[in-house]
Symmetry: C2
Subunit: 410 residues, 2 copies
């Protein structure tokens, strides 16, 4: 294929989304693309023609290597959902006019659910107007909630970070000879993939978290207090992992139960934070013990200093696979998926899947992976996650800190 | 010196407090100590004769190396302040009876301000009763608030963690093309040493945090809002580092200004958390922008996965120096200090100092290192901290996670 390509990043960033960008860029260049353009801030920047020539940003092998190891979205990201084609045809005409202006033959979008919706609509519109431009989705999300694919790039590194710092927090939590409950709040509005990764803290040198609460199971405050009481009969230091999005049986977020605080942001959106703080307060009052609330917050998605080499490699692979499929097989309207061949030894390949069957669908943790009481996860889930956190790709450390590559450098 | 020694850890743990324990243990063995005992949970456990033989816990070079790289206090810690000698002489008699029972010639205590108070009182009592037992303090605290010593072991690694994750949070915070204020809450009740370390995020590949607020300077809410407003005229993504302990001119903690929340724990203690959340809410309401509050919380003191090699090495050295001074020079009632010979190239040695002139004294950040408006720190402070975060000692990674050594292993 001769011509130019464009690549964008969308949705919440991860530690390895730039490795996918590196995979797209490198493979496109290797396969003979003339220009590889990058859109700043996804489709939102694209509409403003905020477009850069990647060759001017990535000038050496060192730059490419730094890109792989730089967290957050190098090109910038957006949260922008395209309207239905029928409701705003002008917008699509505008997009395709820009694509034509830049002589673009293939469009790659690295993102999660919403981003796959973008790929779906653009490839639909291309079909409608008989455009030959290919549109390919490259999966990315720490949430691991995309269907069909065995897992999503970004998840393994977030899981590794969560498992590792949970081990460290457990060590810290056991240091005093006193009752102490540590509650770790982990991302996940509707799915417990990230919170479930805390199960990996249970290993040869660590007893692991005592309880795991995920959004798949309704949260029962009385049962929770009872559980903690039972644990106190056996031990002093208790560590609990909880998803930010846990809800009671009647659909209320747990943090909403706190009557003294309104966690509402400037736009009136309920803020999904404060779950750990609230639960810690409940436990402190119930048991008269010291408590600690730790929110992993943004740290769990930007910890480029703690990435999984498996994850960062797969992130690169899915980028490359998307380009190869578009260039060599003329594919469009597909998302790259990861297919696990075997867990031990871990073997995983890439494949393609119709983006229509992926977009806007959320994959939750299978209920059979959650223990009967809903307070822990099975060894099967641990075995699913463990291969994804293996091995490291350390940052390049300069003057004692991880070096990053930034797009607007001097 | 022939005989036995004992070592304990006290106060808040750090990433490298076990490296000091390794230094005490290894040096004592090398110098011919028969038994090296460890007290569980500091002087509190000692009083219950909760004492272990370190040889049974550290059995190989691998164990010793793991010990250096395991965060939190291997022996457990306590927060226990000895009473004045006059007010409870029986307690001191009890302590010295236990020391005699175990035939202990030297007592090493790794800790901060309160722990040095313990060393002071025990060495005073020894003098009083003409006991030949030596009592030596080994400095440790992420807070860096011990006087006389150039810095304290533990600070460098915490500073490295703070500087590095701040860089990552800045990358993440700039990802969207929208107004976003990220407020990072960093430990420090009375001193801004840790918060000031966020200045190191300002380096070749990063513009650094925009504002730094520390407890040394009274916090002015109106000036704060004005500053943020000025920054918004120049940029969209703003990142602010703030000490948990910032107070207004009338001595109120900033988080206490939040009228809708009472951050009081089960014991009625005011909880020093919520400063970032509260300031983020204020900014969100003032500017109608998205905000994010990130509390580094316990993570900043237990991040064994991100230690400074300089720090971990010095932690080992101060442990060894304490033992050598007691064994070879018959020293007692002293704390080991670090003396900086030069910042660039960084050269640092150890020395001893009278523990009476160290205990219970808190060192704050010099006011001349804080910029005139009180919203940032000087290059001089950056130059002071930078050598302390240099180089890495990575954890030994097993199945994708940092391996630790734990005292009660199977």
């Amino acid at each position: 294929m001769v011509g130019n390509v464009i690549v964008g990043q969308s949705g919440g960033p991860t530690s390895v989304i730039n490795s996918s960008l590196a995979g797209v860029y490198k493979t496109a260049k290797d396969l003979g693309a003339q220009k590889v353009y990058g859109m700043r801030h996804g489709i939102q920047g694209f509409l403003e023609k905020n477009i850069v020539d990647m060759d001017e940003k990535i000038k050496s092998d060192l730059d490419l290597e730094l890109l792989k190891r730089t967290p957050s979205a190098f090109l910038g990201s957006c949260r922008f959902k395209l309207p239905e084609i029928d409701s705003n045809r002008e917008l699509y005409e505008q997009i395709f006019a820009i694509l034509e202006e830049y002589d673009i033959k293939a469009f790659f979008y690295i993102g999660g659910n919403d981003s796959m919706d973008t790929i779906m609509k653009l490839s639909d519109y291309a079909m409608l107007i008989h455009s030959p431009i290919r549109f390919m989705g490259v999966p990315k999300t720490i949430d691991n909630d995309l269907p069909v694919t065995d897992h999503t790039p970004g998840y393994g590194s977030a899981a590794k970070y969560i498992a590792s710092v949970t081990k460290e927090l457990i060590r810290d939590g056991l240091v005093y000879d006193m009752k102490l409950v540590t509650i770790i709040e982990i991302m996940g509005r509707n799915a417990g993939w990230l919170t479930g990764a805390s199960v990996l803290s249970r290993c040869e040198d660590c007893e692991g978290v005592d309880l795991i609460y995920m959004p798949e199971i309704p949260f029962d405050m009385e049962a929770f207090k009872k559980k903690v009481g039972e644990l106190f009969e056996k031990k002093k230091g208790i560590v609990i992992a909880v998803s930010e999005g846990v809800k009671t049986a009647d659909g209320k977020y747990v943090f909403e139960l706190a009557d003294h605080t309104e966690f509402v942001d400037a736009f009136g959106h309920k803020q999904l934070s404060g779950t750990a703080r609230y639960l810690a307060d409940v436990i402190g009052q119930e048991f008269g013990c010291k408590t600690r609330a730790v929110e992993l917050a943004t740290l769990q998605r930007c910890a480029g200093h703690m990435t999984s080499r498996v994850d960062i490699t797969e992130a690169y692979q899915v980028g490359g696979t998307a380009v190869k499929a578009a260039f060599e097989d003329d594919e469009t309207g597909k998302m790259v998926i990861l297919k696990r061949v075997s867990s031990d030894p871990y073997i995983c390949t890439t494949d393609l899947y119709d983006v229509h069957k992926v977009a806007n669908i959320e994959k939750k943790v299978p209920l059979e992976w959650i223990t009967e009481e809903g307070t822990n996860v099975s060894e099967e889930m641990a075995n699913y996650i463990r291969p994804l956190i293996q091995a490291e790709l350390s940052p390049i450390m300069i003057t004692g800190q991880p070096r990053h590559i930034v797009i607007d450098r001097a």
